[in-house]
Amino acid sequence: MDNLIIAGKTYSSRLLVGTGKYKDFNETRAAIETSGAEIITVAIRRTNIGQNAGEPNLLDVISPSQYTLLPNTAGCYTVDDAVRTLRLARELLDGHSLVKLEVLGDPKTLYPNMVETIKAAEILIKEDFQVMVYTSDDPIIAKQLEEIGCVAVMPLASLIGSGMGILNPWNLQIIIDNAKVPVLVDAGVGTASDAAIAMELGCDGVLMNTAIAAAQNPILMASAMCKAVEAGREAYLAGRMAKKLYSASPSSPVSGVIASSGS
């Protein structure tokens, strides 16, 4: 079986999905089920004090016993906020240590601040967290994150929530070629072909949220993404044919073609 292994745990799906931006919890649940994803990201936020005490909780819908929950640090711009958020997440999820670290640099682009990300990763790894890290597509930084002990490196394809697709496949290729830990594209995927391209490059997986949640029909897009990730993975494993510019080669035999006689 061609499984994805992260921090020693085996997963059969290479698609990881988020739980944000859905219309309601029913849509969240249906999209996640359809996607086939096993690793599901969640955010950690202050609870409403004194309001909506009876409102349903995400974890009632996405059960931690059924899925591997991946708490994130979305919205954190400092080392301290990111580290505190994940300590709270670990307590919330009964000691669960697999986390997604992102330390953002700028609210307009949500581009990661890699200096702060590395500092936060070092602290978390010392505290025995298993860190999957959101990163820029800089191959040197990606390698550094691996060397300090991150369990997966997750470069952006393009900006978070932009749906712009894979803007720099060459950098992703270098990161993949150099990595000894799983490389997952995180952020920027817009449609199924983007996910397939990421997988064809040799990515170990793809993490997405907005591409599914903001589709006109999120459930159908979840299905498309499931197939795209599988198709891209199979194409990568199969090994594509070489490109032959200006050198056409017919697929059918060249001999035995009927020809008009007597010319």
Binding site: G20, R46, T47, R87, E91, L92, I160
Partner: protein, 67 residues
């Protein structure tokens, strides 16, 4: 009278209370939450023994949808 800051909101209580009592006051019993007191996690196992005192800063969090 003690003053606690909970998720940036100031709340007053008649006397020092433990964390379990605070959770009851906030109607958060049975909810999946995690609590930080003055920057340190309060493990669930210590909810009854940790007594909150005047000036404590608390963060009470839940899991929500996110990517």
């Amino acid at each position: 009278m003690i003053q606690l800051t909970i998720n940036d909101q100031i709340q007053h209580f008649e006397s020092p209370i433990n964390v379990t009592q605070l959770i009851d006051c906030l109607a958060l019993q049975g909810k999946r939450i995690a609590i930080e007191r003055n920057g340190e996690i309060i493990p669930r196992s210590q909810f009854t023994e940790q007594i909150l005192v005047d000036g404590d800063q608390l963060e009470v969090v839940v899991a929500v949808g996110g990517g």
